[in-house]
Amino acid sequence: MNEIIDPRSIDRPNSYIGKSVPRPNAKKLVEGRGQYVDDVVLPRMVHVAFVRSPHAHARIANIDAAAALKLPGVLRVFTGQDLAEHCEPWVAVLAHLKGMKSAPQHPLPPERATWVGEAVAAVVAESRAAAEDAVAKVDIAYEPLPAAVDMETALAPGAAVIHADLGDNLCFERVNESGKVDEAFAAAHRIVEATFHTARHTGLTLEPRSILADYNRASGKLTAYHSTQAPHMMQGVFAKHMGLPEGDVRVICTDVGGSYGIKVHVYPDEVAVAVIARIMGRPVKFIADRLESFATDIHARDHRIKGRMAVDAEGRITAVDVDDLTGIGPYSVYPRTSAVEGNQVVNLIGGPYDFANFRAKTTVVFQNKTPTCQYRAVGHPIATAVTEGLVDLAAEVLGLDPVEIRRRNLMRDGTYPRTSPAGMKFEGLSHEASLAKLLAMIDYPALRAEQARLRANDIHRGIGFASFIELTNPSPFMYGVGGARISAQDGCTVRIDPDGSVVAATGVTEQGQGTEAIIRQIVAEGVGVPIEQVRVITGDTLTTPYGGGTWACRGAGIGGEAALQAGIAVKQAVLKVAGAMLQASSDALDLVNGEIVDKASGQSRMPLVELSRIVYFRGDTLPPDLPRELMQTRHFITKQYPFAFTNGVQACWLEVDVDTGMVKLLKHWCVEDCGRVINPLLVDEQVRGGIVQGIGGALYEHCLYSPEGQLMIGSMADYLVPMAAEMPDIEVGHVETPTKESLLGAKGAGEAGTAGAPAAIMNAINDALKPFNAKVFAQPFTPERILAALGKVPSRWPVASSVALPLRTADASAAPALVTAPKAAAGTVREPGLFGRMFGRSRA
């Protein structure tokens, strides 16, 4: 089979794999002719607006909807009690995350609101505007309860316990340990340590969460147009919790306006919409507005990590020890759970490096804030910032160049397969080749010379590096083994129609990454037809093979391999028929560019369209027992490795204005190895887009809360995001180490950018600030935090005594004590105040 198509050989016929082919579905998008959920309009459609909790924690004593129901156009008001009768609650735990716990969650909470913004009642009206008018008239009597807001005190004695049945606010705890950590630290030449913070931030998809659910009482079927990454998973969720047979639920995702992990979760308000559609027997639409998005889209990356690293006199890492704490909101999010991010952190820390002694602990706690869950590059940016921050600290104390310490410690190319101290299995990585390629791209000596020259003029530029690993192509070990109905396999059905054109239906989905484009390339090459003749169907549970959808960078690696195998199977089926028609051995024939050709001479024997005409309309002329199966389905699942790890390295070049604390990004580079590159144009933009999301988390984005648990952001004027003017040009390079698990050899590419960018920026800022002996470790690196590190402004909040914000408070005079000799008292790196917005950018 491998000789029919070998993506490893160049200049093969109909070769599309590896080429920058534009996306077939882009034309409709640039003309405004896409179809997002809000563009779908159905007869008798009604609209939902939710009444949302103004309290971080409160008992819902009474809901009086009388005034709301009197308004024109208002049809129904539903409470949590109303919906609870029609929907089984869910508990988001995974069996393989030992000891994990969470509380049952309903579409709307029947008794208690547990975060600001949680939907507590639903108003259904003829228009969204009418529903919103009525929301203001729903009178809810709340009895405020003590809230657990700060993750640092969530487990303290006397903390308000959010779910009494759980006993405390602990969701999950895990220690990942190997080697002899304490001995290694005791024997260390030097130890460096710091406390890192990654800020709670969110995905901010430009298309908000959207669902249009329609229940047809006559057919008993629920159809949901849903802006989601995982239609089959949602089909199962709706069916299970609404008591419907899975076959009676159809989930359709039309165009999706960005997802990045935000749209792969079960949102209670979206389930409420489906339940309401069933109760009312008509189409019900809910499109979140921006404020609702900030308060209810999952947040992510709210971590505090204490990390230390031991090195020997030769600059080799001997041990890493980290303690991670993360607050996830009042519920673990269904069905992926909110413990996975912390779990990834303890799996990924130290990932690129060759060392023996490792300990990482994560503590995952409940709190009364918006639930957090998996967002693009889950855990990676956190683990990378901690690892790379410690590596740079070690370089500094050893007097080594940051590149040199990486050279001494990166896992050597050619030493794979191997297992990391954290227990991750690597099939094949290319850290050294990637670093070498990066250095060739950046002209490192020139940058250092420029840095030195400008310092004389009081201009402070820095360069920062970050090596990273990225987990892609997840097997059932990610979710399935824990009991979640999340498919790790995916399928593709490829068929040839009478006009010789090809249709491919795939279980992976499109949210703008270019899934349809790569499936088209792969199928065109697999079958042997011009790419223009291939149409791709995605995102419909009724018409595509069952699959997991697109998340964790599995579209190309899993969905792509299924498409390749299905395409090859169709080609073989065609050649079988062709052999009979042409009285030739099918082995001697090939299908190239839509023509059946002699394999040896390349001479054309018959157009494919003629073969398909005969098969469909004159089957009587073929031998009676000849199979003529011009439609084939293949599935793929990885088997040897739990995950296909990729790797890469980033560099960031920036300037810090030491008077204003502003960071100006000058240039960013990334070399990444995602195995076989199917479409360089798409991969590069995945990397660039990912890097800019990482930059957002590093410099701007923060879901701020008051000590009482009030969300302090309400618009994109409060929650800053990367905009064009502040972003640098980004250069992308590739090293290709294909996975041998598949013929295609592709691994994922969507998260590498986000994984490494914050660490590279942090290291670059600290490099720029070197002459001032100032350092920052708390993201986002706002002007205020940088000025506080420079000792130029006091922190805006008093020192530690504040119960609400003890972590982020420190006096600026507490100079970072970064380096300790073995056994000396550990210094603590403190980070200054929270609100960095006084210097925030303004926008026209």
């Binding site: 534009p22 996306r23 882009a26 034309k27 998008l29 640039v30 003309e31 405004g32 002719r33 896409g34 179809q35 997002y36 809000d38 563009d39 309009v41 228009s127 505007a129 008018d133 995905g203 901010l204 998809t205 430009l206 298309e207 908000p208 165009d255 999706v256 306006g257 960005g258 997802s259 990045y260 507005d289 921006r290 949210q511 703008g512 990454q513 270019g514 144009l681 798409l682 590069d684 933009e685 660039r688 887009g689 990912g690 800019v692 999301q693 618009s715 994109m716 004027a717 995001v721 990367p722 905009m723 064009a724 003017a725 502040e726 972003m727 040009d729 980004i730 950018g753 926008r843 026209a844």
Partner: protein, 162 residues
């Protein structure tokens, strides 16, 4: 609460007349009343630029303009400029350069880019970034968009691509 007004305007070259609620913004009017779904609402706070449309030849944030205030106006949306072919080169460049991923920002981004090129024949990369800096795109990281706009500017000036 619902005060209505009668308005007439020209939308994508067609004359239309409707009765609208005084509080309805232009994007809701285009989408809900006229079925023009190409203009998107990303924030309704005037901050993301997804709702950018043209009113009397100038780009505006459709979420900040009330339809009722536009009696007699000429409105052009992405559907209109696509049909006339006015920005075909920009659209082609966005496709060729993969400057459009999920596409949700794209109609607004294209109209803003067209606005820049109408006033400035050969903007620098910095000027392109500056002009587009009110249009949020979460997918692309902007680099490809800047490339596409730069390429069209060069092309319109008869210059070879770099």
């Amino acid at each position: 609460m619902s005060t209505t007004l009668d308005i007439a305007m020209t939308v994508n070259g067609e004359r239309i007349a409707r009765r609208v609620e005084a509080r309805q913004h232009l994007i809701d009017f285009l989408r809900l009343d006229l079925g023009l779904m190409g203009s998107h609402a990303g924030c309704e706070h005037g901050l993301c630029g997804a709702c950018t449309v043209r009113v009397d030849g100038r780009i505006v944030r459709g979420c900040l303009v009330l339809a009722a205030a536009l009696d007699g106006a000429t409105v052009e949306t992405i559907e209109g400029v696509s049909d006339t072919g006015e920005i075909r080169d920009l659209q082609n460049a966005f496709i060729a350069r993969n400057a459009c991923q999920c596409g949700y920002c794209t109609p607004g981004m294209l109209l803003t880019a067209a606005d820049l090129l109408a006033s400035k024949a050969e903007p620098t990369r910095e000027e392109i970034r500056e002009h587009l800096s009110g249009n949020y795109c979460r997918c692309t990281g902007y680099h490809a968009i800047v490339d596409a706009v730069e390429a069209v500017a060069r092309q319109r000036n008869g210059k070879a691509q770099p």
